[in-house]
């Protein structure tokens, strides 16, 4: 479990949030339930596997067993540009894409996603830090190298890492303080809940008068 999973989770949630507000795109993707679509970012070695559910929600996987139904390869810049509707040409990567495998699935997927208001550049910059678009490719490469390195030396590094990290973790009295804070937070939350209840009451009274 690595940075990669963390990134995939974040990207997946972001995409599905947008999809939830776009029934048309969701329906298009829902029609692809049972397909696996691979999107490869040229020059980065990064491959993402998209799996649409019956309702069009997408799952993102970093690896699959077997082969995807189709593969779309394009550059990170073109992907970023595709979020600009003028330039997107109704296709992911603004149409600058190489398609392998099931052509129809690739096109439908690409169309559905290009209609979405997803700021890929913004999304990818979450992953790579706030950097200009032309830096994205390089940053992703660096990220991947790092991820790979972490993966490879995971077991030996992890315990070392945790031990090092643990030295800076809180002392007992700090934890006690924390627990006091938790108590405080609970009291605050209760007060807040009471206020909200009051406001709701006031509002519903207002409504019934109107």
């Amino acid at each position: 479990m690595t940075l990669r999973d963390f990134t995939l989770e974040g990207l997946e949630q972001a995409i599905n949030r947008v999809l939830a507000m776009d029934p048309q795109a969701s329906a298009k993707l829902g029609a692809l339930h049972g397909k696996v679509i691979c999107v490869a970012l040229a020059g980065t070695g990064l491959q993402l596997y998209f799996v649409p559910g019956a309702d069009g929600r997408l799952q993102l996987l970093g690896s699959i067993e077997g082969e995807p139904d189709c593969m779309l390869t394009g550059s990170p810049i073109d992907l970023a540009r595709a979020s600009d509707r003028e330039q997107s040409a109704g296709q992911l990567f603004g149409g600058h894409v190489r398609i392998e495998g099931d052509n129809a699935t690739a096109r439908h997927f690409s169309e559905a996603l290009s209609e979405l208001d997803i700021d890929w550049e913004e999304q990818l910059s979450h992953v790579t830090g706030d950097i200009p678009a032309h830096e994205i490719g390089r940053a992703i490469r660096a990220l991947l190298r790092e991820t790979k390195r972490l993966n490879e030396s995971a077991s030996e590094n992890l315990s070392e890492y945790l031990t090092e990290e643990l030295r800076v973790l809180p002392h007992r009295y700090e934890v006690e303080d924390f627990l006091v804070d938790v108590d405080q937070l609970r009291d605050d939350t209760e007060r807040l809940a009471a206020r909200i209840a009051l406001l709701e009451q006031a509002e519903s009274e207002g409504d019934s008068k109107a």
Partner: protein, 250 residues
């Protein structure tokens, strides 16, 4: 004194075997409604990553038949239903009806139709024929099961040859300092959070205790081998706080 064989653990308390299923059910009845929220809070959202990791290890392909045990609100089943496609079949099961209903409602909200079914099932006695599923999973459920070898035997039995089983479960931290911190967290902070959010410190105390009583990585791997699984491997996550055990029926 009762015979040793008739006693089992409920957290750190010793209880009658027959009583345990009822006690466990009580725990999950009382937490069901706050369950999803607590999952996120308790694990700082990391449980999503643990599950994501397990899903990749499952290697689901379209058209497969998948049995998810102790599904709870169905995080894994939800993903599997997407991956299995319209020709696949996912069965979401739990011993607890309240949990299952909650899960079913959630799945309906998420637009699942057709390839997802729901059955109330005890992981220890699976009412399914031999050699019928491609994948059987149990996430954060095995530690609640009274007779674990029996559950593992049943999981092995229902798998098709070539199929695999995944057990995602709390395990043993790989080093001492982490273990200390983890103890502090689970015995002091976790019950407090349970009290605050679910108004139920007891259930979360049980959770922390049941985690400690659960077999560690090696023991569980041996248990899987004893049940007949082959090519068993263990994947430690978050420093061994959680592990995925995987075994195949060849």
């Amino acid at each position: 004194m009762a015979d040793d064989n008739e006693r089992t653990h409920f957290g750190f308390r010793d209880v009658d075997t027959a009583e345990k299923a009822g006690l466990v059910r009580g725990v999950f009845d009382s937490v069901a409604s706050k369950y999803d929220l607590m999952n996120d809070l308790m694990s700082f959202g990391v449980h999503r990553l643990w599950k994501r990791f397990a899903v990749e290890l499952a290697g689901v392909r379209p058209g497969q038949r998948i049995l998810d045990l102790a599904s709870g609100t169905g995080d894994l089943a939800d993903r599997f239903a997407g991956l299995a496609g319209p020709d696949g079949q996912v069965l979401m099961t739990d011993i607890n009806a309240a949990m299952l209903v909650l899960g079913r409602d959630r799945m309906a909200d998420r637009g699942h139709v057709g390839n997802l079914g729901y059955v109330q099932v005890d992981a220890e006695s699976l009412p399914f024929p031999d050699d019928t599923v491609d994948l059987v999973t149990i996430a954060f459920g095995l530690r609640n099961v009274t007779d674990k070898p029996r559950a593992l035997d049943a999981m092995y039995r229902v798998l098709k040859p070539g199929g695999r089983a995944l057990v995602l479960e709390f395990s043993k931290p790989l080093n001492k300092p982490l273990e200390k911190l983890y103890d502090l967290y689970s015995f002091r902070i976790l019950p407090k959070m349970g009290e605050l959010v679910a108004n139920d410190a007891e259930s979360y105390r049980y959770l922390a205790e049941s985690i400690r009583m659960h077999p560690d990585q090696e023991t569980l791997k041996d248990m899987m081998t004893a049940a007949g699984f082959e090519r068993c491997d263990v994947h430690n996550l978050t420093g061994g706080i959680v592990a995925v055990h995987r075994g195949f029926k060849l």
